[in-house]
């Protein structure tokens, strides 16, 4: 089995290279996505089980939906109303509606269904024959719509640039929300090996000129291939120098984390562009590796728990009229929010050993865990499911197996199928987090829906794959009540597509963010406009 997957993948890789050089994009895509096109024609099935959404979407929108569809909005106050009529609505979290109408009022979805009455004065968009689907959510973007300021006092809201050309390109392929890491917060430049899918400083070089071939081909150090992890080799004997623990246990320090900003791709509109900030506890890779780090982390979580308890007691005492000094906050805010389960920990990890230790810690300390990269996740689907952890996958990422352990190391294209079968929710990440190729070549961030199609190719259902770029990433960020699916009460971030969302031939015809039309294919001239 292992041999066979490697062969397929290598074929795929060499195919990619050939195309890159010769430019025969169409032929490759046609071959690669034969599957995508066939399942695209399959009728939509009712969605009964939702193992891929880790946290159930709250039921509130459903009730509102019923209310919204029955009573038409009759406010006298003039609202900005847009009605998109006649398209097949892929809601992601609920059933697909054939030939339905979506009513948008002041940037929110007011009603959707086949029986929606359109109020007078509404701007109508005809989508008959088209497919409507929620805007895609990218969990790792770089320098899109926000100024990457090195200044620690800089506010994310001030750095927004709705006229950034990358915003236009992102929304042109359907990405309406992107989560961007904004401040280095911890150790600056990462040392050691670079995990695939991590922020890759493309834009600091000549974008497009340095292809991420090493990512595609899984370029690795010899030692990495032999020992599975990056280790330095002794110059005399060639044996690996193993990491040693320090003799004295260091005092507990805050683990290195970075902040994040969730930016909507509302081209030209500043209002509502910044959706949320610091939606994860973004731990730097390696910050939980080793006994000392793990002990330190346990202590921090313990301190956070104690602080929350003290704080509750203090509040009680204050309410009772006692005047006591408030408890001292011993940890960073994001640790507190992690302990309160307001955010998940997102941490890059790829090897089974790394992931296992993370899963153990998450189970022991009881917090939400999102593993970024997770190249070898297919080995430990059950463990991940038991810990209720979720992963961020890039199906096309390549990582060679360790010598002698080919059946339980390295990447496997069927990882997405394994995750689906084990009930581990996964989000899909593009090969790169920046935009450098302008949307056609299929290797930069703009290939996000294509990457999800590769999850289908690896055996996941189409519905799961679509969820992996919509509701699952939204849920990971705790924003499932705002974005990620088409439901009444949610933000009106949606796409009018001319085909199935994961089909490589599909173009976004119209993109709507916060109820505003921010992209029209015919006008924007970002992607080719021609009739097929």
């Amino acid at each position: 089995m292992n041999e066979s997957y490697r062969t397929t993948s290598q074929l795929c890789t060499s195919g990619c290279e050939g195309v890159l050089r010769s430019g025969m994009v169409a032929s490759l895509l046609a071959v690669l996505l034969l599957n995508a096109t066939t399942f695209g024609q399959r009728p939509e099935r009712r969605f009964e089980r939702r193992p891929e959404t880790p946290n159930e979407v709250e039921n509130k929108p459903t009730e509102e939906k019923e209310k919204g569809t029955k009573e038409k909005p009759d406010d006298a106050k003039p609202k900005k109303i847009v009605a998109i009529v006649g398209g097949d609505i892929i809601t992601v979290t609920r059933e697909t509606i054939r030939g339905g109408t979506i009513l948008i009022e002041d940037g929110k979805i007011a009603a959707l269904g086949t029986q929606v009455e359109i109020p007078e004065g509404a701007k109508q968009i005809d989508a008959s024959g088209k497919i409507l689907c929620p805007g895609f959510v990218a969990l790792n973007v770089s320098r899109i719509g926000i100024n990457a300021s090195s200044d620690s006092s800089a506010k994310n809201s001030d750095g927004l640039d709705p006229f950034d050309d990358n915003v236009r390109l992102a929304v042109a392929v359907g990405i309406t929300t992107g989560c961007q890491q904004v401040s280095s917060g911890g150790g600056g430049e990462r040392r050691g090996r670079r995990a695939p899918g991590e922020d890759f400083p493309f834009t600091e070089r000549f974008p497009g000129l340095d292809p991420d071939l090493d990512q595609l081909t899984g370029a690795q150090e010899q030692s990495e291939r032999d020992f599975g992890e990056f280790v330095s080799l002794c110059p005399c004997c060639g044996l690996p120098i193993l990491a040693t623990e320090p003799l004295a246990i260091p005092k507990p320090t805050a683990i290195a984390t970075t902040g994040s900003a969730v930016v909507k791709m509302s081209y030209g509109v500043l209002d509502g562009m910044l959706l949320a900030e610091n939606v994860f506890l973004d731990a730097n890779s390696g910050s939980l590796i080793g006994a000392a780090n793990q002990r330190n982390w346990r202590e921090q979580v313990e301190l956070a728990r104690k602080y929350l308890k003290d704080q509750a007691e203090h509040e009680k005492a204050t309410a009772a009229g006692k005047k006591l000094p408030p408890p001292r906050k011993p940890v960073k805010d994001d640790v507190l929010r992690l302990v309160k389960k307001e955010v998940a920990m997102r941490i890059p990890a790829n090897t089974v050993s790394e992931m296992q230790s993370l899963v153990e810690l998450a189970k022991e300390l009881d917090y939400k865990l999102v593993i970024d990269g997770a190249a070898e996740c297919w080995v430990m689907g059950r463990e991940l499911a038991e810990a209720n952890a979720s992963v961020i996958l890039t199906p096309r990422i390549r990582r060679s197996p360790t010598f002698g352990a080919e059946d339980r190391t390295g990447t496997w294209i069927e990882a997405s199928r394994v995750m689906q079968e084990q009930g581990v929710s996964f989000a899909v990440n593009a090969l790169s987090n920046s935009i450098s190729l302008g949307g056609l070549a299929g290797r930069d961030l703009t290939s996000l829906p294509l990457e999800a199609a590769f999850a289908v190719r690896g055996g996941a259902s189409e519905r799961t794959a679509l969820a992996a770029i919509t509701i699952v990433p939204a849920t990971m960020m705790g924003l499932q009540n705002r974005i990620g699916s088409l439901e009444v009460g949610k933000d009106a971030d949606l796409l009018v597509l001319n085909g199935q969302p994961l089909d490589y031939r599909t173009y976004v015809e119209t993109a709507i963010v916060n109820g505003n039309v921010v992209y029209e294919r015919a006008e924007a001239r970002v992607l080719p406009v021609y009739d097929r």
Binding site: S149, G185, T203, G259, G268, D333, R525
Partner: protein, 443 residues
């Protein structure tokens, strides 16, 4: 008077004599000059006067009109067929005072025949206040392009956060420069981009004085979600060095309103007595600045922006509070080859605008033989002719509060004028003569 009219040689001699002796001899200076026969664009209520006479005495306009009586003692200049406009006023003439740092904006690189955009770092714009008058050496500035373009009054500005000055072209000064500082204390200028430090200059200073006490800490503490600062429990020395606190960086704004030298200036801006000049680095900065200005309803703003950036944000501009300074050129719609007449759009939307000829630096250099090429093209593309003229003359004068002195050809104002060889908005028009306070400068 026809005998002078015919005697071209005599006229030239007279002009040369005047050029040499007017500044030196008080006798000559008091002599009345009559320019007759020209079409006069007054840039005032009188509009365009055909075959009119302009009477200048002591460097001021004594009379203007078609029925002006020319005194016997007056020197007469025949300008038949020529057009006279007021001297142009540049509302945003940028000089370097050696303080600005280079903004690392998004750069475009052409490599192998392809165009790449490289994301730049955060632009660093000087956010400390400076008075341009303190550091400007007028002899070190190259005024020649401006002078050759018929500009007689300059609003001299620098990048960053500064106080401008007003300078005027002179015939001959003590220090040998073409231009002299007239009013050393001008308007407050702020350069903003989509970056907290630069926006904070606007934000913190526009806050009413009484609510500014506690703003310093809150405004610099980062996101409302926190978690960026130094962990409170962390011991000094143990804390990672990279988690520097927000408080360590000094706030660009004055900490106390009373002690600040700029407090009075900003108080006037908050009350709407004088506008604040905001140079917006990109289109998003227009939106950011607009959001900040929405908080202080009385304040008026002058936006300095490029045409495409104005086009992008046209919907957000409020004509009652905003004036736009832009280069007088036909622009391209962003990401397309469609040509735009942004001044016309502003005019249709009733947003006042004025032109700064120096803003389009390349045009400024290349179009000197025909300095009004840009405005003329805009007029050809549908901009109202009078509006274009006003945007070059009385508009900037009003913006700077010097409309009683200069900006139009009216009785009592300074006789700064430009003589064009044909209709100034005819694209090919060149400057024949410039008069500063009634004295001609041979070009």
């Amino acid at each position: 008077m026809r005998f002078i009219n015919l005697d071209q040689l005599k006229l030239r001699c007279l002009a040369i004599v005047m050029l040499w002796f007017v500044p030196l001899s008080p006798l000559c200076a008091q002599r009345t000059l009559a320019i007759m026969g020209a079409t006069i664009e007054t840039a005032s209520e009188k509009g365009t006067l055909k075959n009119a006479t302009l009477l200048i005495k002591d460097g001021k306009i004594e009379a203007i009109g078609t029925d002006v009586k020319i005194p016997v003692s007056a020197q007469v200049v025949n300008a038949t067929g020529k057009t006279i406009t007021p001297g142009f006023i540049d509302p945003y003439y940028v000089v370097t005072i050696g303080r600005e740092t280079q903004a690392t904006e998004t750069r475009t690189v052409v490599f192998g025949g392809r165009v790449f955009t490289i994301g730049g770092g955060a632009p660093s714009i000087a956010t400390t206040f400076a008075k341009i008058a303190d550091s400007l050496d007028v002899t070190k500035v190259n005024w020649q392009p401006a002078c050759r373009s018929g500009i007689t009054t300059f609003h001299v500005v620098a990048g960053g956060y500064a106080q401008s000055l007003i300078a005027k072209r002179v015939l001959d000064s003590d220090i040998g420069a073409d231009v002299e500082v007239q009013e050393p204390l001008g308007k407050v200028l702020v350069t903003v981009t989509n970056e907290t430090k630069s926006l904070d200059v606007l934000r913190n200073n526009l806050k009413p004085a009484d609510s500014r006490g506690g703003t310093r800490s809150t405004s610099t503490s980062g996101s409302p979600f926190g978690s960026r600062g130094l962990p409170i429990g962390a011991r000094p020395g143990v804390a990672p060095s990279s988690t520097t606190t927000a408080n360590a960086t000094p706030s660009p704004t004055p900490s106390s309103a009373s002690a600040s030298p700029t407090a009075a200036l900003w108080a006037d801006i908050r009350d709407g007595k004088t506008p604040v000049f905001v140079n917006v680095n990109n289109a998003s900065a227009i939106l950011h600045a607009g959001a900040i200005l929405a908080e202080s309803p009385k304040a008026k703003v002058v936006l300095i922006a490029s045409g495409p950036n104005v086009f992008n944000t046209l919907e957000s501009l409020d004509g009652k509070r905003t004036t736009v300074i832009l280069p007088p050129t036909i622009d391209l719609k962003p990401n397309s080859a469609i040509r735009l007449n942004v001044p016309k759009m502003l005019s249709d939307k009733k947003v006042p605008f004025v032109f700064s000829q120096s803003l389009g630096q390349s045009d400024f250099q290349t179009h000197q033989p025909t300095p009004l090429f840009g405005p003329a093209m805009l007029v050809r593309a549908g901009l109202d002719r009078q509006e274009a003229l006003h945007a070059l003359t009385i508009g900037p004068a009003k913006l700077l509060g010097i409309e009683k002195e200069v900006g139009s050809l009216e009785v009592g104002k300074q006789a700064d004028l430009v003589v064009f060889d044909e209709d100034p908005f005819s694209v090919t028009a060149g400057i024949e003569q410039v008069y500063i306070s009634g004295a001609p400068i041979n070009e």
